[in-house]
């Protein structure tokens, strides 16, 4: 072999070895085989983080050779880039937060959701929940998520003091809502605060509104890709969104600010109403303790849908199917839902779905009403970004934002959704 060939062969071997090493480096997606139990979620707020940290400490005390690592990410980051990165990483979480619906089904299809059927029927989690709750958490006959909370993802929160000062009552019909907007706008108060830069905040609310107009079946079939959006009923539904814009119901900056900035308008009394989900209770108590607020469900619309429908989703925790600590993870989730910890979460303004939530610590009256509203709802509408394909949800949200911002007519907006998805 000549020197040149030796060098070439050596170089090829070195490159091949490097490639192998690099490939090895990138082949994540598995949970590491150690005594660390990794738990990942979007940040639930300081009050709940304290409870989580305490649960972790309890678990470590009961299992001295185990360390619990909590990973609280920014909510939006977690929902988009955060969780996929974690799951693909070398130290993937053993337990992670997830929303029931299309996302959960995708996790199961991708092999990241362990079968928890045994754990919830005869294992450590058995008896902690009403069996019926698992029906929406079952994929291919396997329970793949342990529920934690049921979020009503949108209601209309209102500032009771502003309403009283202006002689207003919470709107329960569409006409009342528009009249309330007009009255508040005339007083220089933002009627409804929204931080819709990331599209989901107003998107969730307005999607619920459209479901009330087109009906739950049409809503679901369009979001599932079975029917088109460019139909007269969708145009009609988008027409109501245009009415919101025409009546200056929403802050001018809605599509420029994020959900946090939108909420601040409500917390600081610059806006009289705020359309967001049940998580506002603990958030407002943390950031605006003096705020006197309550909620109404979306006012009834002139339309084909059930006018008492509630938009909501069950959230909970999934055990990574690639985790080598699946038994430990199930035990951790059982501890999480123990009577004592359930009461601690209630103290942190979260209402867990565990059966013991109805005992002991008093739940915030608004949270209790919300949970009751969800449990007794005649129809539950799934949020587009949790219950359906994300690209479809995003196309709907973008179109709703365009109409809300006065950038598109209802006709152009619905046609645009189909174009985008075609």
């Amino acid at each position: 072999m000549t020197d040149r060939r030796k060098v070439t062969t050596g170089a090829v071997a070195a490159l091949s070895a490097t490639a192998l090493i690099l490939t090895g480096c990138s082949a994540g997606g598995g949970s590491s085989d150690d005594n660390v139990l990794r738990v990942a979620m979007g940040s639930p707020g300081e009050a709940q983080i304290r409870v989580w940290d305490d649960v972790a400490a309890q678990f470590e005390a009961a299992n001295p050779d185990v360390t619990v690592e909590m990973n609280y990410q920014n909510d939006d980051l977690y929902q988009t880039i955060g969780l996929p990165n974690l799951l693909n990483g070398r130290n993937a979480p053993d337990i992670y937060f997830e929303w029931a619906g299309a996302r959960l089904e995708q996790r199961a299809a991708d092999g990241f959701a362990a079968d928890l059927t045994e754990a919830v029927t005869t294992g450590p989690i058995a008896g902690l929940f009403d069996d019926e709750v698992f029906s929406s958490l079952t994929v291919d006959d396997a329970v793949v998520m342990v529920p934690h909370a049921a979020d009503v993802t949108n209601v209309l929160w209102y500032n009771e003091d502003i309403f009283a000062e202006n002689g207003l009552t919470p709107p329960t019909t569409w006409d009342e809502l528009l009249a309330t907007c007009d009255a508040l706008d005339a007083e220089g108060i933002i009627p409804i605060a929204s931080g819709n830069k990331d599209l989901w905040a107003a998107g969730n609310w307005l999607a619920h509104l459209t479901s009330r107009v087109v009906g739950e079946d049409v809503y679901s079939s369009a979001l599932s890709g079975e029917t088109d959006f460019d139909t007269p009923e969708w145009v009609e539904a988008f027409g109501y969104v245009k009415e919101l814009a025409d009546h200056n119901c929403v802050n001018e900056s809605a599509n420029a600010v994020d959900d946090n900035e939108g909420a601040q308008l409500f917390f600081q009394g610059k806006a009289a109403m705020h359309a967001i989900g049940s998580w506002l209770v603990s958030w407002a108590i943390d950031e605006a303790p003096g705020l006197n607020f309550d909620y109404v469900n979306l006012p009834s619309m002139p339309g084909k849908g059930n006018q008492d429908s509630v938009i909501g989703v069950v959230t909970g925790y999934v055990v990574n199917a690639k985790s080598s600590n699946q038994d430990l993870a199930a035990e951790f989730l059982a501890l999480l839902n123990s009577d004592e910890n359930v009461q601690a979460f209630i103290g942190a303004e979260l209402t867990p779905m565990a059966l013991s939530a109805s005992d002991g610590e008093e739940v915030d009256s608004r949270s209790a009403k919300l949970l009751d509203m969800l449990e007794t709802a005649p129809a539950i509408v799934l949020p587009p970004d949790n219950g359906y394909d994300l690209e479809t949800a995003n196309a709907l949200y973008a179109a709703l934002a365009e109409v809300l911002g006065g950038q598109s007519s209802p006709e152009d907006a619905v046609a645009g959704i189909d174009n985008k998805l075609s």
Binding site: K197, E252, E261, L390
Partner: protein, 293 residues
């Protein structure tokens, strides 16, 4: 032992090549490979040939994102390079406090872009922001805007922030280049009666043409790589008015799980940037010959 003259040079290259291979070559090769697949990042990977490239060519939003980034680059050439050049001209004129100005103007370059983006998002905020409040204080209420929520102003608003950060960077490059201009040339021009403006326009700027060319190249390629300001300040909105290729492909990959399609867009973007770099390199190589001729 006598070192082997043939092998030793390559051994010195190994650490650099390993880093290059790990940080650049491997991701590029993998992205290229992914661009021919349909894959969500976890599940089964399916080979789809050129489908992703065909989809990218027909994707109106992707095409629009290129238009937006070209407008952004045009704005940043003015707000970063041209302003940086003027600032360098000003601070290079020996006056008291020149050092203080240079440090002050350069400081934004040292701030993390995410911090800058959050800071400026507050400045632009329609309800709490400094800019609209300042306009009211100066009696300019009519100029108030939802700066990041209006498609007519959002792209410009982000470009201004980019200019605020990088004008100081280019000022530093040009300042260093100006300091290389021979003093005898400057003094000869002064003896001929040239004022500061004429010195700047007719002597200094032409003599630092290579630095300007390099700065333009940096600005253009940097513009195509822009991401953080857009992601934090507007996330591509409002109504897609600030969607640029990088934000669009990141959404495609990480939000919607279209790793294959996002990779194809990344390869198209890379090809455009490399092609522009090559064009600039060629222009840069030819110009001195013309000047010397």
């Amino acid at each position: 032992m006598k070192p082997n003259r043939r092998v030793t040079p390559y051994l010195f290259l190994v650490p650099a090549m390993a880093v290059f291979g790990f940080a650049v070559l491997f991701p590029v090769v993998m992205t290229f490979a992914y661009s021919f697949t349909e894959w969500n990042g976890y599940g089964t990977m399916q080979f789809v040939g050129l489908d992703n490239y065909i989809e990218a060519a027909n994707d109106v939003l992707f095409r629009d994102s290129f238009l937006h980034v070209v407008l952004y680059i045009a704005a940043t050439i003015l707000l970063e390079v041209a302003v940086g050049l003027v600032l360098a001209g000003l601070v290079s004129v020996k006056r008291r406090g020149s050092l203080w100005f240079r440090v002050a103007i350069f400081t934004p370059v040292m701030l993390p872009m995410v911090v800058v983006a959050v800071l400026w998002a507050f400045v632009y905020n329609n309800d709490f922001g400094l800019l609209n409040a300042a306009l009211v204080n100066f009696g300019l209420e009519d100029l108030q805007r939802v700066w990041l929520g209006d498609p007519a102003t959002a792209l410009l608003a982000v470009s201004v922030v980019s200019g605020w950060v990088y004008a100081g960077f280019y000022m530093t490059i040009f300042y260093a280049a100006f300091s290389q201009v021979p003093t005898e040339v400057i003094e000869a021009a002064r003896l001929d009666g040239a004022g500061e403006w004429q010195l700047f326009r007719r002597i200094k700027v032409p003599m630092i043409r290579n630095a300007i060319t390099v700065s333009l190249l940096l600005c253009i390629t940097g513009g195509f790589q822009g991401f953080d300001l857009f992601y934090v300040m507007t996330n591509g909105g409002p109504y897609g008015a600030t969607e640029i290729p990088t934000t669009y492909l990141v959404k495609s990959v990480f939000t919607f799980g279209n790793v294959g399609y996002g990779s194809a867009m990344a390869m198209v973007l890379t090809a455009v940037v490399v092609a522009l770099g090559l064009v600039f390199a060629r222009v840069n190589r030819e110009k001195p010959e013309k000047v010397n001729a």
